[in-house]
Subunit: 181 residues, 2 copies
DNA sequence: AGGAGTCTGTAGCGCTTGCTACACGGAAAC
DNA sequence: GTTTCCGTGTAGCAAGCGCTACAGACTCCT
């Protein structure tokens, strides 16, 4: 029945595509509207304001990404740290790492300065990822599993950052080195 | 003799301060000019355009930061991985980590999308940091020292990112965990 | 048939952005 | 003493931003 909600939903999907392709800097209302096949006027009819629109769209992107990870390493499976890192890195790499990486850095940069809705959403994403990591990690006995998951997550995020600034080769070599040690 | 170069130099210092305080999003010509005690008109007299201005200012920030690191761990000293990580993290934390962290994430985000001058400068910074890490790292025998340095750098960058998105506690715990393992 | 509420296009407001045109005072060179 | 260049203020341009006012079309209820 509700036409508006349907179109809103469709817009979210198309805007998520656009966001992944262009990143936050390319996410003006007019550009997003063009991507969604609508007018900026209509976007602001579907959503209260840009913040609400961005929150919904970023949430959608996060959902997609967590689906990629779940598909790569299914619930119930547990791996030791180095293997898990390698597996996650491999999964991201084969699902076209780049777009998500760029968007995530944009988001993190905004979050760092406390910008909303970036701060809230980035927090949620990193918490979810942390929990996911802990649920997939075969913990080494004798130290805190949460801290181990945190360390693994940090390393992965750092690899992402290295790749983003054009040092993907360094990141690849690091993954290998960590796999041996 | 050269009045212009003197003022240009002074402007760089003050703009570096401003950049650390406000990050890239707060770096409009008018805002930078106010911080430097000049007019935007004059900034564009000292520098060809905003790109040149930003390149000079970001370079200055990087210079300051590497001075902090050199002071914390002097040339010639070598530490094993976990200790080095702890030392670097401690040095950054005690020198007011926050401003540099934010700026670095802004820069990395821009670099990821290929924006100039961010891409070039971020590349230079990460290369310098990589080299610095390798020069301070007591390498474990049997695997590539460069890759070990890369892995350590990745972890550190990831910790920075975790702290930026408001999970500094997770980062601290991870540093501890890595210190034990 | 008429009024009410739901959609949507047009047009534009007020603001910020990087950058520029122009004019003018002073100092230096000849 | 004139010319030439350096340094600087004023004022403004074109483009982009998020957002809104307004009006018309369409659908539904009575």
């Amino acid at each position: 029945m509700n036409v508006r909600d349907d179109r809103r939903e469709a817009a979210i999907e198309k805007m998520a595509d656009h966001l992944l392709k262009e990143g936050l800097p390319g996410a003006s209302l007019r550009a997003l509207a063009a991507a969604a096949g609508a007018s900026d006027r209509m976007l602001l009819y579907y959503f209260a304001d840009k913040d609400e629109l961005m929150a919904a769209t970023l949430e959608r992107v996060a959902l997609r990404q967590s689906a990629v990870l779940d598909a790569a390493i299914q619930p119930g499976v547990r791996l030791p740290g180095p293997s898990l890192l390698k597996a996650v890195w491999g999964a991201m790499a084969s699902s076209d790492l780049q777009p998500f990486m760029h968007l995530w850095l944009d988001l993190a940069a905004g979050a760092g300065r406390g910008v909303e809705p970036h701060r809230t959403i980035a927090g949620r994403i990193v918490d979810a990822f942390l929990q996911w990591t802990q649920s997939r990690l075969e913990p080494e006995p004798g130290s805190d599993p949460a801290a181990q998951a945190g360390a693994l997550l940090a390393t992965f995020e750092g690899l992402l950052l290295l790749a983003a600034v054009g040092r993907r080769d360094v990141a690849e070599a690091a993954v290998e080195a960590l796999g041996e040690g």
